[in-house]
């Protein structure tokens, strides 16, 4: 990755890897290598291969197969908050 230095509404799709730093504030492991199962379609893959859209409210992470929302990450003054309601489960790397 090099950069996504553009106004928020102009930013195109990114990969899950782009959220590695932000998610390191929430998870003790490298979240981009964690395995996520989509609650909608059952697709199961590492987080790095999911699709990320940066929006004004935060980062929206979608299933690369069915595009259902897996996670939403919102940055708040007291730290990022992760909603994972679209993930059936998350497994730490090497688990």
């Amino acid at each position: 990755m090099t950069t996504h230095d553009a106004p928020v509404h102009d930013r195109p799709t990114l990969d899950g890897s782009a959220l590695a730093g932000l998610l390191s504030e929430v998870y003790a492991f490298d979240a981009t290598l964690a395995v996520v199962r989509c609650a909608s379609c059952g697709h199961t893959d590492v987080f790095a291969r999911a699709t990320v859209y940066l929006t004004a409210m935060g980062a929206v992470v979608r299933c690369a197969t069915c595009t259902a929302v897996l996670l939403v990450v919102v940055e708040r003054p007291d730290g990022p908050r992760v909603s994972a309601s679209g993930a059936a489960w998350v497994q730490a790397p090497g688990g």
């Binding site: 090099t2 950069t3 996504h4 553009a6 990969d15 730093g21």
Partner: protein
């Protein structure tokens, strides 16, 4: 992962829009080729902007080598390309991301496909391969395909083209080719991505990095050639 204060210690122009930056970053260690850092700037009024940048070199502890390509109108890259001076301080967090990584103990063939400044993480991989010593990766066949608009947009071309056994580089010009170039300017094709020893049956690891549109087009060509989607790793960025 915590933020480190980093100090600019070197800057070198590479193209009309790209610049190499070297930072001294006490406490920063253990980067692998392909990883990135988050870089944070803080304005006098407290406003903060964070962007992700690939490392151009791995394994140099407490030193961070970046290549930044300017995104016109961006909040961070114009400062880094035009204004940052030795002695300036900023913050970095990393190294980050274990997915888009080449390991120097892996002897499998590697196909690297770069659009524009998407070549930066591949510089880290080439440099790691050159310094891999006795590791099996020192002899891993590498093919690097770099797509750029025009000759003047090529980042570190001299280094990439320097003879190195087992490494082949191919340049693709999309708008303007050098005088006498054998093919007219055009987008990357399956011919650029096909070479003996780098096919799907050779156990090739494929990495693609560039603007979103480029990455999606190249990844589509690669899976069309039969590369399993699980062996095609992509990293996209904006500013196309």
């Amino acid at each position: 992962m915590s933020w480190h204060v980093a100090t600019v210690v070197g800057a070198r122009p590479l193209t009309g829009t790209a610049r190499a930056l070297t930072l001294s970053a006490p406490g920063f260690a253990g980067a692998l080729p392909g990883q990135h850092v988050d870089l944070r700037l803080t304005a006098p009024d407290g406003y903060q902007a964070t962007r992700a940048y690939s490392l151009a070199r791995a394994g140099h502890d407490e030193r961070v080598d970046l290549v930044v390509d300017e995104v016109p109108g961006g909040e961070v890259s114009p400062y880094l390309v035009h204004d940052a001076r030795p002695g300036d301080q900023l913050e970095i967090r990393g190294p980050l991301g274990g997915y888009f990584v080449w390991h120097d103990d892996d002897p499998a063939p590697v196909l690297l496909v770069a659009g524009g400044s998407g070549v930066v993480p591949f510089l880290a991989m080439l440099r790691a391969r050159r310094s891999a010593g006795q590791q099996p990766g020192r002899h891993a066949p590498f093919r690097l395909v770099c797509s750029v608009r025009a000759p003047g947009d090529a980042i570190e071309r001299e280094e990439i083209d320097a003879p190195d056994p087992g490494l082949q580089a191919r340049w693709v010009y999309t708008r303007q080719a050098p005088p006498g170039w054998p093919t007219p300017p055009g987008r990357i094709t399956t011919a650029d991505l096909t070479a003996p020893g780098f096919g799907p049956d050779d156990g090739t690891s494929v990495f693609v990095c560039g603007p979103t549109g480029f990455v999606e087009a190249a990844a589509g060509l690669l899976t069309g050639l039969g590369h399993p989607p699980g062996r095609v790793r992509t990293e996209r960025f904006g500013g196309a």
